[in-house]
């Protein structure tokens, strides 16, 4: 009897051993939460090399920042995600909700190589900047010349310009620069929103994605629009005479940061990954692929690559960035004001 019953059990065990997947490199698994943008490039340049180097497995979750933050909040008691990359204001929002822990920057060997602006943008080491981007105006050189943010509302561009929607990351900074050009640089943005509201019929649309903008430019629906430098690659070779404006009021922009979820229990591996991503070779590879502008000041790239990035200490120093707390605290108010002054 014993022999009879042991046989199927042994067979089952053997089959299980045969059919089971090979042991994963690890018992070490890191779950990261990132933007959906350029994931093929990130896989080739960051994720796969890291998995090879750490002998671990990366689980990558993608989505827009609202979905990803909502998920982090829902799982706060038992975090699924170990580290995430988000905008500075989203990071600040997560920090205020108690979802984050300070990053132990002493464990990041590449930390000192970062531009100062990227080292501790939120305070208390709640985030480390890994990329930033300039925002300026791209335009058709055969149609207009753009020297100032105020040119967005000029008669020459009436009916041929798109602006970023206030709900996008580009919206408030672009409005802030427009306000500066109009002599009102208050962060309440009432001045520029009023001006946009008065010219609303001359604005083709308020775009929400840079990919949408590329199509509008290609279809000659628009001649100019404020856009993040990360999207410039879509426009510069579109067969139309395009230029990136350097307005007299300067350029604005934004920064993305790495954050560490609170009590995730995987801090060491998360720090290892952050350090890997911030290293000079990886930041250089991402820059050369025109995926992300480097936050690592030691990165050097060829002039033709640099031209397509937000690159170099000088450029970085000139960016007029809206502080994350300003964006976070005023975002809902801006939306109401926008709906009232512009869309009414």
């Amino acid at each position: 009897m014993l022999h009879k019953s042991a046989c199927p059990a042994a067979t089952l065990l053997a089959l299980t051993a045969l059919l089971a997947p090979p042991a994963l490199a690890a018992d070490r698994t890191l779950t990261i939460s990132v933007y959906g943008f350029a994931q093929d490039a990130f896989k080739d340049l960051v994720y796969t090399p890291f998995e090879a180097a750490c002998d671990c497995t990366l689980v990558v979750e993608t989505g827009n920042s609202v979905e990803r933050l909502a998920k982090m909040e829902a799982n706060a008691a038992d975090p699924v995600v170990d580290m995430a990359v988000v905008s500075t204001h989203d990071a600040l929002s997560a920090a205020r909700k108690g979802l984050l822990q300070p990053i132990d920057v002493s464990a990041l060997s590449n930390y000192d190589k970062l531009y100062d602006i990227a080292k501790d943008p939120l305070g208390d080491n709640f985030g480390v900047g890994y990329t930033f981007y300039a925002t300026s105006i791209e335009y058709r050189t055969d149609k207009v010349t753009v020297d100032s943010w105020a040119d967005l509302l000029s008669p020459e561009l009436a009916g041929n310009v798109a602006l970023p929607d206030v709900t996008t990351n580009q919206g408030p900074p672009a409005l802030y620069m427009l306000g500066k050009a109009l002599g009102d640089d208050d962060a309440g943005l009432t001045g520029p929103m009023t001006a946009v509201g008065e010219s609303v019929d001359d604005i083709v649309t308020f775009y929400v994605r840079s990919s949408q903008l590329a199509q509008l430019m290609q279809q000659e629906e628009i001649w100019a629009a404020p856009v993040g430098r990360f999207a410039w690659g879509r426009f510069k070779d579109n067969g139309l005479p395009m230029a990136w404006a350097t307005p007299e009021e300067g350029q604005t922009g934004g920064m993305n940061v790495m954050i560490m979820t609170k009590d995730n229990g995987n801090e060491a591996l998360a720090l290892e990954f952050m350090d890997f991503w911030l290293s000079t070779p990886i930041q250089t590879a991402l820059a050369e692929a025109l995926v992300d502008s480097p936050a690592n000041a030691e990165v050097t790239v060829a002039a033709d690559v640099a031209e397509n990035l937000t690159y170099g200490a000088e450029t970085v120093a000139t960016l007029s960035l809206l502080p994350p707390e300003t964006i976070l605290d005023r975002r809902a108010g801006w939306l109401d004001q926008w709906n009232e002054l512009v869309l009414e």
Partner: protein
């Protein structure tokens, strides 16, 4: 059907539990936020919503476009369904297949196609300029007209399918009989076809109106932020303002509008049928 009532209920239980647990409860929880204010039950959120001129305008625009798309698709749908059911069987199948074909294509792809077609350099403007009807291209994109065209194209097949089914169930000799008895075509439609196809109109109308009310992609792409609809406003409240209470209010309004449209259409059809 079942001699043993308990057996019937037992068989229905898994589906009922599934629907309750994964649909009714989550929806009820979400919508309950719309009836709460400072921890107590209240309708304050609705009063606040309709207090805003912008919200009222978005509400009326959504209602107007939904009603217009339903009305126009009903008119086109009747003509199309009547013609399709008059065709020989083979041709009917082929034409009906063409009507269904767009439903197999993603609404995103269909809407993006309109972005190209309605553009300044799109086929519509190029044809109008080529024919000398206009000098400079007309701006269609990011207007209510573009949203209307996009929604109509998106939901017209649902109306045609519902009406074709209704026409097929209509007695074949009803129209000839009415004609023999001296009815003109308007009377035939009003007194014979409409009453006999009212179920199709109610189903099609509800599907089209509800679809037009709740579509997000098409108003977002073809209308953009300048043509806010209730669904794009809902998305904005959640993603930017993180205001789930206001979003729940909008969701509740959309649900009420859908149910009201269904009741209204049923009522119209029943009244029409009673008279007819």
């Amino acid at each position: 059907m079942f001699e043993n009532r308990a057996a019937g209920l037992a068989l229905a239980l898994p589906a009922a539990v599934f629907a309750a647990a994964l649909f009714l409860v989550p929806v009820a929880l979400l919508l309950s936020e719309a009836f709460q204010s400072d921890g107590t039950w209240s309708l304050t959120a609705y009063a606040e919503f309709f207090d805003s001129a912008r919200n009222r305008r978005v509400f009326w625009r959504t209602l107007k476009l939904g009603a217009l798309v339903t009305l126009v698709s009903a008119v086109i749908g009747y003509a199309a369904a009547w013609s399709i059911t008059s065709l020989p069987a083979g041709a009917r199948g082929r034409i009906f297949g063409l009507v269904i074909l767009p439903l197999m294509i993603s609404p995103v792809a269909r809407t993006y196609a309109w972005l190209v077609i309605l553009g300044r350099t799109g086929i519509v403007n190029e044809t109008l300029v080529g024919l000398g009807l206009i000098d400079t291209p007309i701006r269609f994109l990011f207007t209510e007209t573009a949203v209307f065209i996009g929604l109509l194209q998106l939901f017209l097949p649902l109306m045609i399918i519902s009406l074709v089914s209704a026409f097929e169930n209509m007695p074949k000799d009803a129209i000839p009989a009415a004609r023999v008895l001296g009815a003109n075509w308007l009377q035939v439609f009003w007194r014979v076809i409409l009453p006999l196809t009212r179920e199709g109109l109610v189903i099609g109308g509800t599907l089209v109106f509800t679809g037009a009310l709740t579509a997000y992609i098409t108003p977002a792409i073809l209308g953009g932020a300048k043509v806010l609809m209730l669904e794009t406003l809902l998305y904005q409240r959640v993603t930017v303002a993180n205001d789930f209470a206001a979003a729940s209010v909008i969701a509740m309004i959309l649900i009420v509008m859908s149910f009201s449209a269904n009741l209204l259409l049923k009522r119209i059809a029943t009244a029409r049928g009673a008279r007819g």
